[in-house]
């Protein structure tokens, strides 16, 4: 990552758009496709302007078939292209799951490397936008359980661009979940207060041109001694705000990549702090928090001074009117922090 490059202020959508633009200019094998991504530029505008710039055979709308979108992407990857399909909402990825899980994720293995699926599936995920149960889900744990696929989730425009570039260059299939709640600005969990735009946040400064953030490397958002907080996406900011408000000297780790996980950074932190809180928006049971919890207790058992806390969404669909009761917001996080401090 070249921090010496000149910087510009971008929100997360713009950063993603910029990453696609930079990469499409560098590599003519990159194609972008998905429902409404072409002429219109995507329902969240992440692909705006790309069709005009790179033409209709490199940026195009698709039929409404997630199975088809992933399936043709696998075939294009086998040909030698690097498709970057968009799934309009993570909630709609299930019809394409077989092509992702049984095909993209398995192709290198089953062909002993003869064929690969170097595809990056972008999809907005997470709630907090009154999208109801089919525009709010966080299905990352369905992917982290599948061998052969990498799961990446950025928490800032800066990381979104650098990680997306790395994902596109990666020769394995990557699922790239974009926390749509923070497309426009980091969300601190206080839904009744105005949101700060990315232009006023340090991580809204994005280098021009090409840079990569390696997959599998976490970001230490803040160093601290009192406890370790593991989070990704939107929840990084919510946790950060709660801990700042409470004045807790926590070490906050933004995982960035769930698989492969940066176990070293996690381990070092917990050996230092002895306490661990995991935060995610997905439903609790079998969420990625369970894996994090299991790993931490396996590797840091004798350092742990208190039970690991999982702060998560509830085991219900994401409701419409009671969305803030579902969301793992400041109160839920705050209680867990208090428990850890007391332990």
């Amino acid at each position: 990552m070249s921090e010496t490059a000149s910087m510009k202020k971008l929100n997360m959508i713009e950063a993603i758009n910029d990453a696609l633009d930079v990469m499409m200019a560098r590599d003519s094998n990159i194609v972008v496709m998905g429902e409404d991504v072409g002429y219109f530029g995507g329902v969240f505008r992440a692909t705006a302007g790309l069709q005009k710039k790179y033409g209709r055979t490199r940026v195009f709308d698709t039929p409404i078939s997630e199975c088809g979108i992933i399936g043709v992407a696998v075939g294009m990857g086998a040909y030698g292209l690097r498709p970057v399909p968009e799934i309009q909402f993570a909630d709609y990825i299930y019809p394409g799951l077989d092509q992702l899980v049984s095909e993209a994720a398995r192709l290198r293995y089953r062909s002993a490397g003869e064929f690969t699926a170097p595809i990056t599936v972008r999809s907005p995920f997470g709630g907090g936008i009154f999208g109801g149960q089919t525009h709010s889900q966080s299905p990352e744990a369905l992917f982290t359980h599948v061998s052969g696929i990498k799961t990446v989730i950025p928490a800032t425009p800066h990381d979104a661009k650098g990680l997306l570039i790395a994902a596109i260059e990666d020769n394995d299939p990557v699922i790239f979940f974009e926390p749509k709640r923070i497309y426009n600005g980091p969300f601190n969990g206080y839904y009744d207060k105005p949101v700060e735009p990315w232009s006023r946040h340090k991580d809204g400064a994005v280098p021009e041109g090409y840079y990569r953030i390696p997959l599998g490397k976490a970001r230490v958002v803040r160093e601290g001694e009192a406890m370790t907080v593991l989070a990704y996406g939107t929840m990084v900011h919510v946790a950060e705000a709660v801990l700042a408000e409470k004045g807790v000297d926590a070490e906050i780790i933004d995982l960035r990549t769930l698989v492969p996980l940066d176990i070293e950074t996690i381990k070092a932190s917990i050996e230092k702090t002895g306490k661990c809180m995991i935060v995610h928006e997905a439903t609790r049971t079998g969420g990625f928090g369970a894996e994090l919890s299991a790993l931490v207790q396996e590797r840091c058992f004798y350092h742990l001074e208190a039970p690991i806390e999982r702060v998560t969404g509830f085991d219900t669909p994401y409701p419409h009117s009671l969305e803030w009761a579902y969301f793992p917001g400041p109160v839920r996080i705050g209680e867990a922090v208090d428990r850890l401090l007391k332990a």
Binding site: E35, D36, G38, Y39, F40, V43, R56, T57, F60, D61, T62, P63, I64, S65, E66, C67, G68, D91, Y92, Y94, P95, F130, G131, G132, Q133, T134, H135, R284, T285, F314, D315, T316, P317, P319, H320, S321, L322, A325, Y326, G329, V331, R332, G334, E335
Partner: protein, 429 residues
Amino acid sequence: MNEASRSNLPPLQLHVPEPKFRPGDAVDYSHLVIPAAGAQARPDESCGASETHPLCLDLVRVLGEDHRAVGPWDPKLDPESLRRMLRLMALTRAFDDRMYRGQRQGKTSFYMKCTGEEATSIAPAMALASDDMVFPSYRQQGILIARGYPMVDMINQIYSNKADKLKGRQLPIMYSAREASFFSISGNLATQYPQAVGWAMASAIKGDTRIAAAWLGEGSTAEGDFHSAMTFAAVYNAPVVFNVVNNQWAISSFSGFAGAERTTFAARAIGYGIAGLRVDGNDPLAVYAATRWAANRARANGGPTLIEHFTYRAEGHSTSDDPGQYRSVQERTEWPLGDPIARLAAHLEALGEWTPEAHAAMDLELAEQVKAAAKAAEANGVLGHGLHHPFRTLFEDVFEELPWHLKEQSEQAIRERRIKWPEWKEEDS
């Protein structure tokens, strides 16, 4: 073929569909072949499926240029029924207008209109038995209105308020109304199609007489669920009526991205060897007649029919988009198949059964009716203003009974609420 000869070959090319008109373009519909009303044969309801196949590439039309009903598909409805049909379509439009404004005023998060497509739900609802089970997409609010479902309940759902029968759980307009034989709407496109087949199969297994009908948009025909539904319905001869509402747009993508450049959507029926009809979706009489034909056929164990309703989405996809960004505004005004309400009104006028004055009075009355319902619903709250279902309801209905982990989480939610609003009492909400 010889490798060496390759160099003489032209390069392959990817064809990417592009609609005829984009923002700013002048619209010219002269390429559209619109057959004359009344010119389409009407095979017997018990015919072999292949007898309907020419109709899959044609367009069943009843209302002519002169606003008269003509030809074998004329359902010969009495003026009473026609006026009821007109009123229901107008009521649907009035409802849409008010709810759209409600969303713009911040009373809810989302809304979707069916403007211009009212015939595709009102006419089928009238042609089906009232207890035939319907599996709609999100654009068939007209069915609930036609079946007399309380409008206040519809608006309670849209406002996600404390009287919402769905307990505020679903995005606005994702109704469920078992009492109206109206299946719970899913946010996931096309999933209702195989479900409708399953319901129809169950009805047949039980020797019942009720049939099922399903709706989806032309864009959604691309989903695998569409194919599963057609295959199962064909294999088991399920008593189901499939409606494809071809309003030519799927958010910003025109119907070419679902395959419309190649053939009609009704033609899918030919591929499965089932009956198919293609109708002028803005001609309520044609829609009614086609539905009745298909329903009678299904009820007589004649099997499934696929009906394509050729219509036009006159407004945006939803409150979340602006169609001016991707299509010519002239498309709507120039649309040669007109507006279903205007066409039916003109027909009634031609019959001497309606006047512009009566129409204006009806519109006023319906607007008042909707306004009153909206006011009544608003008394139960609008989205985000505290009048929602009790917090514990968040955990109900995940399962029939609350397992221990949801009980714990329910207590957690209540505790969080107390922490945030110490003055809050559980009874309040």
